[in-house]
Amino acid sequence: MEKALLSALSPRHRRKTNQFTRQEAIAGWLFVSPLVIGLLFFTLLPILCSIVWAFKDYDGFTVNRFIGFGNFIHMFHDKEMGKVWANTLIYTCVSIPLNLILSYLLAWLVNNNYRFTKVFRVLYYFPCVIPGVVNGLLWLDMTDNTYGIFNRMLQAIGLPAFPFFSEASTAMFSLLLMGIWGVGGGMILWLSAFKGISPSLYEAAKIDGANGWQRFTHITIPMSTPIIFFNLVTSVIGSLQYNGTLVIATRSGRGIDDSLYLYGVKIWFTAFKDGNLGYACALSWVLCLVISALTLLLFKTSKWVVYGE
């Protein structure tokens, strides 16, 4: 994507000196005018508002005064923030590698041409088309202490009941467990990476006497790095903003003892439950900065990504 962006921005306009140029410019602006209006009103205006409000004590109605960096300083005194950051970082740092590895293993398993494999690929992808609300509804039901089927099954094989989302100590584990069902999405990405690797590379390696493990570390992994990188960047951006616990955790997405209180939920809670819009804007800008810094770091350290053969 970044390549395409760069090529689009490079200054090699084709200078066309025919009589259509002026007409074409008018047509061009007419075609992009809805987009420009949209960018101004639904992106630029909100961004400007958000920047200003981040420095204000603002509730959307009556309270509205500048407090400088007050909101940002408040973050360090906000007792919830430690828990929120810890939860968000645990969620991000565990779920991303976990899904990357599991989806790799799954892709490796289904990367063959047996006729039945095709069916399994579709089956493995199926959980990814399930809307988030349905997953929340379903998992809450299955992990219920009284009527939940998971505890019934544990009981049947003689194990003690597991509290899942109903206890602070097991809630994050349960959330990560739930995430495993989305492994099919990563599988698709890995498969498309495998497909892009030329079989001749493997043949050449075989002739040179490389064993299976060497072929894996010297061909499969390096050739898949663009996909790993793409996956890494998008999932870091996604996980840090994740607020899917709104559908699964009690107390409006916070969980027992704030055990599932993630940054994305904290912003929502601050703005719409506490009505502290200024502080919520400040929080969202801090998250935006963290995401930008991490993305930049990923791009800066992306020497390990191999493009082309």
């Binding site: 994507m1 074409e24 008018i26 061009g28 809805p34 992106t43 039945f116 399994f120 009527y147 019934r152």
Partner: protein
Amino acid sequence: MSKEKQIARRNQDTQLKIWNGAKVSALFLLMTIIAVILLFPYVFMLNKSLMTSSMVIDPKVPFFPDFSQLQWKNYVRLFTTNVQGHTFGQALGNTMIIIVFNIIAIPISASMAAFAFAKLHFKGKNIVFAAMMLTIMLPGIVTQIPLYVIYSKIGWLNTLLPFTIPNLFGGGALYIFLIRQYMMGIPNELIDAAKIDGCGYFRMYWQIVMPNCRTILIYIMVNVFVATWSDYYGPLLYMSSADAPYTFAYILFKNFTEGDVAADLANIRMAGGVFMTIIPAIIFVIFQRELTDSTVTSGLKG
């Protein structure tokens, strides 16, 4: 690689054949176990949606419904079930209004901008394009609070307007980018020939470029459908009053997260879940070819 395997296999003796057969069976078995684990929740959801109310509060938690009396009527009951003065039937109607609007508005408004980016030359194009690309990288969380306030000031809260009107203006940067990449693949000769024939720019867009974009437009329509269909977060932000036009995903969310969640109505909730799942699943099956077409997502790689 598997071709080599096949050739090699043919040449080997029966003992190896048995060994290979065992390997394939083991592979098949492993895949089946994984499939059972991954699909277990959804089969259970379907089963539970067909149970009687007394079965769902049975502490033994049966996995299978009573096959002699499958409760298909749970699905009928679903649509008349009332959540805070709204029925699932009405909510489905609201969702459909948004979807119909968006699957027409988004492809058209996004493709118009994409056409200008891909095929027209004009001053300032690169600036607009760069500004648009920056919004892809901007976390959505930054704009959601100001948008809430803006919508409240212009009286859009508790209406369907926030879910429809903004889509007339561009329809999403990522969609524009994908269509642009796709349009770049359409030969410029087609455009130049049309120009020489005196074809206007709008006709060029509508009659020459658009018919060639069938695959990407279907890809986007499916994505818009699924995104709109499963969106509970938008309504959670912009619908606070009790008489707001709730959408299907939102009413389902409210139904199990707020107030007294009646245990004996779990079958109705599960019917809601099955219904919410089955629609996107059908669409994925129908449009599988367009969705897996590599030309569509090729713009995202490299």
